[in-house]
C-alpha cells in the first residue's frame, strides 16, 4: 500500500529525514513512533503530498507520489496534528466544502456529510460554527474530513495528543473501526499505549532515521529484554553480588525493597536468579516476570543508539 524507500529531506543544514525506509501492507494499522522532533510530521507531510522531498522514493498503491499527485486524489486521507478549519463555517458546511473539492455530486455530498457527522459523534453540533468547537471536537471533525473521500490510506499525525482520556478513547475506537473496515492506517504518535492497542506493525524513528521497523510480534521477540521484578520484605542496602555476577543477568536496578533484574536469557536466568535469591538474608515478598511492552522497546532503541 505504502512503500517508502531511502527518503531524505533537509531544511537548510538540518537533515530532517535520513534514508527513511519502511513498507505498509494493505489493511494494516502501522504505528510511526518517535520522540518529539524526530521527523514524524515531516514524513507524514511528504506522504500526504504537502511538501517536497530531496531524494528517495514514495509509492502509494503502486503509484509514484511525485508523478501521480492528481492520480492519488481519493487514495490518501490526512489528519494533521492541529487541523485548521474555517471558523466561520459549521462542521456540516466544512464537510460539504471538502466534498465539493473532491468533486462529489450535491446529493452524494449531503448524504456523506450527514453520515460522517454521525460517525464521529458531531451530528448535533454539526450546525454550530467550528470557531466555538473544543480541541476534541475539532479532532473528530478532522477525522471526518480525512476520511471524507473514502481513502484507502489514512494518515493520522498525533491524532490523540492533547485530548482528554475520553476523547482519546473515542478517537482510538474510531481508528480501530476504520482499520476493521479495511482501510490502511498510518499512525504517527508518541503515545505508545495507543499504538499497542491498534497497530499491527511499527517503525521507530530517531533523529530522522529509522531505528527499527517490523511487526509488533517480531519487535517483541527481537528487542524485548526480559525483566524479573522482585520485591523483598525489607529494604536492601545494596545489590547482592551473587545476582549481578550470575552469567545470564545483564544488569540490575534497586529501588528500596524493589529490584529489577534485566536478563540476557530469561529461561536460563530465571533458574540462576532463584538459586541466588535463596542464599540472600532477605525474604522474597513477590517475584514476577514483567510483560514486555512497546514502551520498553521504544526506550531501549531510542536511548541505545
Amino acid at each position: 500500500m505504502l512503500n517508502v524507500k531511502a527518503l531524505s529531506k533537509s531544511y537548510g543544514q538540518t537533515r530532517a529525514l535520513r534514508d527513511v525506509t519502511f513498507r505498509v501492507t494493505p489493511g494494516q494499522a502501522f504505528g510511526f513512533l518517535g520522540p518529539n522532533g524526530a521527523g514524524k510530521t515531516t514524513a507524514m507531510n511528504i506522504i500526504a503530498g504537502l511538501i517536497e522531498f530531496d531524494s528517495g522514493n514514495v509509492t502509494i498503491d503502486g503509484m509514484d507520489l511525485r508523478r501521480n499527485r492528481s492520480g492519488l486524489r481519493g487514495v490518501v486521507g490526512y489528519l494533521p496534528e492541529s487541523p485548521a478549519f474555517y471558523g466561520y463555517m459549521t462542521a456540516r458546511e466544512y464537510l460539504l466544502f471538502i466534498g465539493d473539492v473532491s468533486g462529489l455530486t450535491p446529493a452524494a455530498n449531503r448524504s456523506r456529510a450527514d453520515e460522517l457527522l454521525d460517525t464521529v459523534g458531531l451530528a448535533e453540533a454539526g450546525r454550530r460554527r467550528i470557531g466555538g468547537y473544543s480541541r476534541g471536537m475539532k479532532q473528530r471533525l478532522g477525522m471526518a474530513a480525512a476520511i471524507y473521500n473514502r481513502p484507502r490510506l489514512l494518515l493520522l499525525d498525533e491524532p490523540t495528543s492533547a485530548l482528554d482520556p475520553q476523547g482519546r478513547l473515542d478517537v482510538i475506537t474510531l481508528i480501530a473501526r476504520m482499520r476493521d473496515a479495511g482501510m490502511t492506517v498510518f499512525l504517527s504518535t508518541h503515545i505508545l499505549a495507543d499504538v499497542e492497542r491498534i497497530c499491527d506493525s511499527v517503525a521507530i524513528i530517531k533523529s530522522g532515521a529509522i531505528v527499527a521497523a517490523d511487526s509488533m510480534d517480531r519487535l517483541r521477540e527481537r528487542y524485548i529484554q526480559p525483566v524479573v521484578d522482585v520485591v523483598f520484605d525489607r529494604v536492601l542496602e545494596s545489590i547482592p553480588v551473587q545476582i549481578t555476577s550470575a552469567p545470564h543477568v545483564d544488569r540490575v536496578t534497586l529501588d528500596g525493597d524493589r529490584m529489577s533484574v534485566f536478563m540476557r536469557d530469561l529461561s536460563l536466568g530465571k533458574r540462576e536468579l532463584l538459586h541466588a535469591m535463596a542464599n540472600l538474608d532477605a525474604d522474597v515478598a513477590s517475584y514476577s516476570v514483567r510483560q514486555p511492552s512497546l514502551e520498553d522497546i521504544f526506550v531501549r532503541l531510542v536511548n541505545s543508539r
Binding site: Y11, T14, P83, V101
Partner: protein, 263 residues
C-alpha cells in the same frame, strides 16, 4: 473545475460572514457620498474660517467632484483593498487551512483562480457602483453640468479596472510573503510608487496608474496626453496574466503544511 467551484462558493461565504463586502462597500460608498458633500460645504467652511477668501476659486462642478473622488479613492481605496485582502493566500498558508483541501486533491490553479475571480468581480462591482453613486450626488449637488451618464460610467469602468489590477497585485504579494501584513504593505508600496514610474519616458502607457489618469482626465478636457488606450490595455493584460501565473507558480512551489521548515 471542482476546486474552482468549491472555492468560489467558499469565498462568497467567507466574504459575507466576515463582512468583507460590507467593509469594502461602506468604505468606497462613504467617500463616494462624502466627496461631493464636502465640496458643496467647502465654500461656507472656508468663508467662516478665512473671511475674504476669493469665492471664484471655489466654484466646483460635477466634473470636478467626480475627478476629486477618483483622485482620493486611488490613495484610500488602495489601502482598503490591501488591508482587506492581504491575507487572501498568506493567511491560508500560515494557518495551514490549505492542508485538507490540497490533501483531498484541490488544485492550486483552481484555488488561486477562484479567489482572483471572486475578489476581482466583487471589488470591480463595488468600485463601479460607488463611482456612479458619486456621479449621481455630484449631479444633484452641482446641477447644470453637461457630464453624461455614459462618460461617468466609462470612468467608473476604468477605475474598476484599476482596482482589479490591485486585487491581482495583492494576491501576488500574498503568495510571495507568508505574513499578511508584509504582503499588504508590499502591495501598497508598489501601488504608491507607480505614479513615479509614469513620469519616466514611454512608461505612461505601461502601468496601471494610467487608468486613474485616463478615468479622471477624460471627464474634463478629454485630454489623456500621450497615453495610448490600446497599448495600455495590452500592457495591463500582459502584466495581470504574468502576475496570475507567478501567483499560481509560487503557490505550487511553497510548502503549505503548517510548520514546514521548522524542524
Amino acid at each position: 473545475m471542482s476546486t474552482f467551484t468549491a472555492y468560489m462558493k467558499k469565498e462568497r461565504m467567507e466574504s459575507s460572514r466576515q463582512s468583507k463586502y460590507l467593509i469594502l462597500g461602506a468604505f468606497f460608498g462613504f467617500f463616494a457620498l462624502s466627496t461631493p458633500i464636502m465640496l458643496k460645504l467647502m465654500p461656507s467652511i472656508i468663508e467662516s474660517q478665512m473671511p475674504g477668501f476669493p469665492q471664484e476659486l471655489m466654484k466646483f462642478d460635477t466634473v470636478y467632484s467626480v475627478q476629486n473622488y477618483i483622485r482620493n479613492i486611488y490613495q484610500l481605496g488602495n489601502m482598503a483593498v490591501a488591508l482587506v485582502l492581504m491575507g487572501v493566500l498568506a493567511d491560508e498558508r500560515l494557518q495551514g487551512k490549505l492542508v485538507y483541501p490540497v490533501s483531498q486533491g484541490a488544485g492550486m490553479a483552481g484555488i488561486v483562480g477562484a479567489k482572483l475571480v471572486h475578489y476581482a468581480a466583487a471589488v470591480a462591482a463595488i468600485v463601479f457602483a460607488s463611482t456612479m453613486l458619486n456621479y449621481y450626488y455630484s449631479v444633484v449637488l452641482f446641477p447644470g453640468s453637461d457630464l453624461g451618464v455614459a462618460a461617468a460610467a466609462r470612468s467608473a469602468a476604468l477605475l474598476a479596472a484599476y482596482f482589479v489590477t490591485r486585487v491581482v497585485l495583492v494576491a501576488f504579494t500574498s503568495a510571495i510573503f507568508t505574513k499578511p501584513l508584509v504582503a499588504g504593505l508590499a502591495a501598497l508600496v508598489a501601488s504608491y510608487v507607480e505614479p513615479i514610474v509614469t513620469s519616466l519616458p514611454r512608461c505612461r502607457s505601461q502601468v496601471a496608474y494610467s487608468l486613474i489618469d485616463v478615468a479622471s482626465n477624460s471627464l474634463g478636457t478629454g485630454n489623456v496626453g500621450d497615453i495610448s488606450g490600446w497599448v495600455l490595455a495590452a500592457a495591463l493584460m500582459i502584466e495581470v496574466a504574468v502576475m496570475v501565473l507567478m501567483t499560481v507558480w509560487r503557490m505550487k512551489s511553497v510548502e503549505i503544511a503548517p510548520g514546514a521548515g521548522a524542524q
